[in-house]
């Protein structure tokens, strides 16, 4: 077992007694793409800033590459950072922005030029060296920020919602670029986002947070197929997992909530279904339509139907599903692998 590249142990950060993050423990292997995911205010940015050294933890230890950096300055941690606003220096040209850190660290000029050229080549910015950030489009600025992050070849790169200022179309293509860049350069990336599509599609490992606590750490498929608790179940996936009170679906002992994903639900013939619901809304997405259903004791019940459907609200619909697709949660919202038999 090799030492994890980034190791965070029981880290806590509080602001004037208010909760920032608490009990954060993480092990990140070298070369991993880790997404910190969660709703706004969940502490994911704080966690990233603790890793970067822009904030110092009140408790706990952080080590990077085997070195304890809990109290080290950001510049001593051998990392680069991409900010949400890109944080490009408006008075410097693209080339000067990218080379900023190299200049500060007094890299020889010839080497600086070589690294600059390479970084601009990778990010497709050759020819823009002398432009000021103000003369670039949003996507180009974003690439300058990326170029600045990769130019020094730091082993760890922290990204704080780098795509949130781009339009949807650009976001999808930059997402691929960042992923490719990361695997080509072998960087370890810690990536903060509130967009689960970004987290699920890019990351090898997703850290889902809520209210300053880690809810679940795992591969994207683990979060999707084995949510650790009801929060994860309701956060991950589009549409999120439906939760059914055990009272509404009896037969499973020791279970408080039962989770069910839309793709595992099928519409049943009258009298054949396991739950009888009312249609509450239809959401047409092109290849499929999400039909929202309401039933007492359930939240977020949705069935996905192919093509365009226009079912009037209030219509009765019976649904069926198999027991194998159910997820069980106890009274604390924690996942149960098997319900106790009987009731």
């Amino acid at each position: 077992m090799t030492q994890p590249f980034v190791h965070v142990e029981d880290v806590a950060k509080r602001w004037n007694g208010q909760l920032g993050v608490e009990n954060i423990s993480l092990s990140i292997p070298e070369g991993a793409f880790v997404a910190l995911l969660g709703p706004s205010g969940c502490g994911k940015s704080t966690t990233l800033r603790l890793l970067s050294g822009l904030e110092l933890p009140d408790e706990g230890r952080i080590s990077i590459d085997g070195r304890d950096v809990t109290l080290a300055a950001p510049s001593e941690r051998n990392l680069s950072m991409v900010f949400q606003s890109y944080a490009l220096f408006p008075h410097l040209s693209v080339a000067e922005n990218v080379m900023f850190g190299l200049k500060v660290r007094k890299t020889p000029k010839a080497e600086r030029q070589k690294k600059l050229h390479r970084a601009l080549e990778i990010t497709g910015l050759l020819g823009y060296e002398n432009r000021k950030p103000g003369e670039l489009s949003g996507g180009q600025r974003q690439r300058v920020a990326l170029a600045r992050a990769i130019v020094a070849n730091q082993p760890l790169c922290l990204m704080d919602e780098p795509l949130s200022n781009l339009d949807a179309k650009l976001r999808a293509s930059v997402r691929k670029d960042i992923k490719k860049l990361q695997s080509d350069l072998g960087m370890t990336v810690v990536y903060v986002t509130h967009d689960q599509t970004e987290a699920m599609s890019m990351a090898d490992m997703v850290v889902l947070m809520k209210d300053g606590h880690i809810q679940q750490v795992g591969a994207p498929e683990d979060l999707y197929y084995k949510p650790a608790n009801t929060f994860v179940a309701e956060f991950v996936g589009a549409p999120p997992m439906a939760l059914i009170d055990s009272a509404a679906l009896p037969g499973f002992g020791g279970v408080e909530k039962i989770g069910l994903r839309a793709e595992n639900i099928h519409v049943a013939e009258t009298g054949q279904g396991r739950l009888s619901c009312q249609v509450s809304e239809c959401e047409f997405l092109g290849s499929e339509t999400f039909v929202g259903l309401s039933h007492p004791g359930t939240t977020g019940l949705t069935v996905s139907m192919p093509g365009l459907r226009n079912i009037p609200a209030g219509q009765q619909m019976e649904i069926g599903f198999s027991d194998a697709d159910l997820h069980f949660f106890d009274a604390n919202g924690q996942r149960l692998n098997q319900p106790q038999p009987g009731a």
């Binding site: 970067s52 050294g53 822009l54 300055a73 950001p74 510049s75 990392l79 680069s80 950072m81 900010f83 949400q84 606003s85 890109y86 944080a87 220096f89 408006p90 008075h91 410097l92 900023f100 850190g101 500060v104 660290r105 600045r148």
Partner: protein
């Protein structure tokens, strides 16, 4: 109705402009004519440069110009140095009592420099700077106005830029020098304009603290040159005045656009 009030406003503005510029116009007129022609407003009289020749020979003007130039430069450098560091500390460094100290600095704005003239005189003498250009400039270097201006400019710099520079390896001074100072350039320009014109024109304090032609700035030199005991010749005094104000006036006319833009940018940001 509204058009009438527009006319009144325009007329008022013109009137104020005429009142403001008339002494300058008269001085300009007098400087280029003989005294009798000047005071009689003899519009057809011949233009002459004799007054300038007389005035130039009457006092060590070159020395005065040099003194004033050194004075405003020394003050400006000192102010940039002090206000940059102080403004940065008040804007971005957390230290106990910061707000109290800042309010104390701002209170300096309430106090006219003339009130402190005796105390300043004693202080400059104690420091052994009496009758030196550094002594003339010293009391103005820690300018509360400048500190306030720089603090505001630095506060407007996005924190991400500060953090990005930190991650890239800059220390406090590196960040100040590479990020804050370049971004505050319009503010520096606007402040330089105010500072240079104030100290180019400053009279009372240099009059008191200087004692010899070697340190005397233009304003003091001009007043001694025009003092009644030397005989009052309006045209020659006007010529000397024109010489004194010319560099600043020409600089302003040439760089007018940049100055106004600097002020706008410094203000809006």
């Amino acid at each position: 109705m509204s058009s009438l009030s527009r006319y009144i406003e325009t007329a008022g503005a013109l009137l104020l402009a005429v009142i403001w510029i008339s002494p300058l116009v008269f001085a300009f007129w007098a400087a280029f004519h003989s005294t009798s022609d000047a005071v009689n407003f003899n519009l057809t009289s011949a233009w002459t440069l004799d007054n300038f020749r007389t005035a130039w020979d009457g006092a060590p003007w070159l020395r005065y110009f040099l003194n004033t130039f050194i004075l405003v430069t020394v003050i400006l450098i000192g102010q940039f140095f002090v206000t940059t560091l102080a403004g940065f500390a008040f804007a971005k460094v957390q230290f106990p009592g910061r707000d109290v100290v800042f309010i104390l600095v701002l209170m300096q704005l309430f106090i006219l420099p003339e009130v402190l003239i005796v105390e300043n005189y004693a202080m400059v003498s104690r420091l052994g700077l009496f009758d030196s250009i550094l002594g003339v400039g010293m009391p103005y270097m820690a300018s509360a106005f400048g500190i306030f201006l720089m603090r505001q400019a630095f506060k407007g710099v996005p924190i991400e830029l500060h953090e990005a520079a930190r991650v890239e390896g800059c220390g406090w001074f590196g960040i100040l020098w590479r990020v804050y100072v370049p971004l505050a350039r319009p503010t520096y320009l606007a402040y330089a304009l105010v500072s240079v014109s104030t100290h180019w024109n400053n009279f009372l304090w240099p009059l008191i603290v200087t004692n010899s032609p070697d340190t005397r700035p233009l304003t003091v030199g001009l007043s001694i040159f025009g003092a009644p005991e030397n005989g009052v010749d309006i045209s020659v005094i006007s010529a000397a005045t024109m010489m004194s104000v010319a560099p600043l006036l020409i600089a302003f006319l040439v760089f007018q656009r940049q100055f106004v833009q600097a002020f706008l940018r410094a203000g809006i940001k």
